[in-house]
């Protein structure tokens, strides 16, 4: 398992990529849903 997270020594690069990508996508979902909720009809 720790071998998987080490990514053959490239852990920072691989998880830095995936972590930021999915964090930003999650943030966009959160923000866009809040905007839709708060928009008045």
């Amino acid at each position: 398992m720790s071998e998987f997270f080490a990514m053959g020594g490239y852990g920072w690069y691989v998880w830095g990529s995936y972590g930021v990508t999915f964090a930003l996508l999650a943030l966009e979902i959160l923000l866009v849903r809040r905007r839709a909720r708060e928009a008045k009809a």
Binding site: Y13, S17, T21
Partner: protein, 240 residues
């Protein structure tokens, strides 16, 4: 399909909600499948080791960054030509997601470049033109935000979006036109892909997931924009 029926924001509003729900669901399932293939099925690359696994998000994000710009410019141009209200709203709804994927392409590319090239950044034609794409998205959003009248903002934004579309083929062909550090396309429409089948499968599934994600998020955002802009009347359709 009654296209012009749906060109009205009020009639498009409930349809956008349905599209968002189904595309969002499909995107989540495909992203899970793509991650499974990318991390557990695809083998370690002989030259790049595990660092190559970044391409499963880098390449789809880069594709989306260019594709979304073209779609955004298409809607902007349609709004300019036909003066339809929904078109400008669609262009506005796509821009932030396009900018996000452009940033992701640059960020992941940088983290891939460090172990493989030995540098996070280099001013080569591919990287520079992709950075310009990010600034075009920012410029489009800033210009629209700076003009109070939404219809005038749509027209001004449309001109910028259409002019900026020349950058997309420059990005795509930059690796052929100039001697770039960035490699050429491993996957193209004209020749067989130069990678293992499972690697290609992981990349294509992720691309599809990002594609459906973009549709879902844009649809939720266009619903918010419709509500914001059409707020004057009390339309029961928009209350849902």
């Amino acid at each position: 399909m009654r296209w012009f029926w749906y060109a009205s924001p009020q009639t498009f509003f409930p349809l956008a909600g349905t599209i968002a729900r189904w595309c969002g669901l499909a995107a989540a399932v495909l992203a899970a499948a793509g991650l499974y293939v990318g991390f557990l099925v695809a083998p370690t690359d002989a030259q790049q080791g595990e660092a190559y696994r970044i391409i499963f998000i880098h390449v789809p994000a880069a594709w989306m960054s260019m594709f979304l710009y073209v779609v955004m410019a298409f809607w902007a141009a349609l709004g300019l030509a036909l003066n339809t209200r929904l078109s400008g709203m669609m262009a506005s709804a796509i821009a932030p997601t396009g900018a996000l994927f452009t940033f992701i392409a640059l960020w992941t590319g940088s983290l891939w470049g460090k172990p493989t090239w030995g540098t996070y950044w280099v001013w080569d034609a591919r990287l520079t033109s992709e950075l310009i794409l990010l600034f075009l998205y920012f410029g489009f959003m800033a210009l629209k935000a700076a003009i109070d009248d939404p219809r005038r903002a749509d027209r001004a934004g449309a001109v910028l979006a259409i002019v900026g579309v020349v950058n997309v083929p420059i990005i795509y062909y930059s690796v052929q036109w100039w001697n770039t550090l960035h490699q050429g396309a491993s996957v193209s429409l004209t020749k067989a892909p130069s990678m293992a089948a499972t690697m290609l499968a992981g990349m294509l599934v992720m691309a599809l997931a990002f594609w459906l994600y973009s549709i879902a998020v844009s649809m939720v955002r266009v619903r918010a924009i419709i509500k914001e802009r059409e707020s004057s009347g009390s339309d029961p359709e928009l209350a849902r």
